[in-house]
Amino acid sequence: MKNKRAFGNWEIICALLTVISTQIFLNFPRLMAETAGTAGWLLIIYVSVIVFILFAIISKLYEKFEGMDILDISEYIAGNIGRVLVGTILLAYLVFIISVVLREFGEDLKIITLRLSPISFVMFFFLAGMIISAFFGPEAIIRIGVLTVPVTYVAFVIILVGVLQYSDISRIMPLLGFGPKSIFIGGFPRISIYSGLILLFIFTPFIKSHKDFKKIGYISIGLSAINLTVSTLVFLLVFQYPTATENFLPMFQLAWLINYGRFFQRVESFFALLWISSALHYLSIGLFLILYVFKKTYKVEYYKPLIMPFAVILFTASLFPKNLVEAIELETKIFRNVAWVVVFGLPILLLLIGNAVRKSPVKGGEKNEKR
């Protein structure tokens, strides 16, 4: 029996915006300042153009595999071995980033507001939210984004507009920062900032058609490019390089500055609430992706029994880094430099092989989910 479930384009776009743009609330603007200096915002534009091109290639190659995710394609190419191999790579990738981000969000919350609470106690609440979301299933997880994303956008715009009084155009000079070489060559691995696009290649069966797949991809990349560029630009306009590289939580530190008269100030508390909801959405999507990939890779019939074991694994893995700085290093120095291999390299490779093997379109996407 067919069990085809499809989400609306806007729902998937909201989920993609969450998984790509939530890094803004972590350390993204600072990372760009570290990579390209005053040209951090230019680097994002360059990276976004590359990602547009890569996505155009991927979506062209995807034409013959409408409704199939990369696990389906790997199975089509190399059978069970291919699927298990690719699935295991994806699982390792997802467990790594979700556990690190879980730790980072927990630590950030500790620094901002829950100073005395143990990190495990703080993370437990994120984990509880992730577990509940996973039990509710993909509809709840994906569709809640339609509510959280617009609200987060409003907060985001308030912060950016609110700090403009502190901005100074000279702070993004010299325009080329560390120079063209560091932007255009050294900056290439930074396409990993779009690592959240992996959601699109895993959730392909939930998308109605290939036309929608393309539309969702382009809109998500475009909106994310705007979010990432504007946030970094405003951050650099307010905190000049190299002082910008000192800031641990760039967006929080921007919100901390908002101050209009004696009455409109201290809005970061409100911001923290939205930031946490965005983080929870991100982590919930992450846990569900892990469960979905595991279920599909190892042909497990139901994913619900996997929720608690994976929650425990993520919780334990998130406590591996000795401290926050180590967790940040894992995310920024390792993950954000190599994630592109999995997110762009792997799909392109599989699709190239798939296209070479098969000349006529293959239909997939049936039985995409069973709880």
Binding site: T113, L114, S117, S170, M173, G179, T243, W256
Partner: protein, 440 residues
Amino acid sequence: MRKGNWLFKTIGIALLALFAATLLAGCYDSREIDDMAYVVSLGLDKGKTNALRLTIQIAIPVATGAGSSGNEGGGGGEGSDSSFITTIETPTLYSGLNMANNYISKQLNMSHAKVIVISEEIAREGVQRYVNAIMRGREFRGNMFVLVSKGKAEEFIKETKPKFEVNPAKYFELNLMSYRYTGFIANTQLINFYLQEKCTCSQAVAILGGVNRFQSAEDFDLNGSTYLEKGKPFPMEGDFIAGEVPRIGMIKSEFMGLAVFDGDKMVGELDGEEANYYLMLTGKYENSFFTVPDPLVKDYFVVLSLKTSRPPERKVTMSGDIPHISAKVKLEADILSIQSGKNYEDPKNVHLLEAATEEYIRNSMQKLLYKTSKELKTDIFGFGKSIKGTFLTWQDWIDFNWLDKYKNATFDVSVDFKIRRPGLMIRSTPIYSSEGMMYD
């Protein structure tokens, strides 16, 4: 069965929400507002027994809210009923707060701190070790003010006993923003100070504060005025630095002028008038009363309500290693007073007053600019911003080393000043006495 599942789920979620709400609100980090002691100002002096003498002014919320005259603690005296002051010697800022927490019944909280007062002695040695600690702290806010006190910060805080404001935080908040209508100080919020201090194209300033030295009007003198060193025959309203203004009454502490920094070290001072020019040249001047000598009648003044009409136009060009800095300041004013009674409102005469004012401001600005470049060797005006954009890469800019080149800069200032309105009088008519017409 389905109905049972739904019920089970609902009860489970409700229980979890209750569990989360209870734990998040009650564990580890729960703090009652009433358990906190809110710091209003912090003073940093060099210690006698330790590296730092930390003075903490703490609000008494009950007195602040009710305007009560009940006095608690050691601050004592008039106007300080809504706060008390404690001083402690300590190795570092945070260890001092910790020590204070040991004998204050409530836990100190910095989230409402309005000002950090640094003694001149510490400021001249370098403030980085303290400013860094404050910026790293979660509770301190970027919009608190940085102030350098002539003399002891402890004394400055103790002598800050406002009459109008029951709430000392409001006093600081309002008074330290008075630069918008006096021009004698500047907006030196912590975030601005910190960013300027670390900037490669600009340097920091802080408000200069001090305790007024005069006990009665009979004691007034001009020993502390800067008018002589500026070559003036008499002092104008801004020719003073904090602590030296001939005044008595209201409050002993006062703000006047700016402390000038090179990196994190204070290297000089600007008086109140120079602070006005600093604001004009950086585009932060709003408005103030401004007195200029009467261009036609000696020893008489014209008083203007001066304001910025356009942001300043600033340009930096290089001749070899010598920066040439040109700045055009655009101002406009309403006439408030013409002591001589000369008819400067008349369109035929107005240009006389305009030209004289332009020349007066231009000369004063030139002197100030050369003072900062040749004497103080620090670009507090941020002229480096104007040339930074001509470099393509960060390394080129750093190699250029603007802050070092500034000391060789030459300046060309022009002032475009226009009288817009004559106040409520459109012309000055003569006064007649038994001797005939006076003040024609």
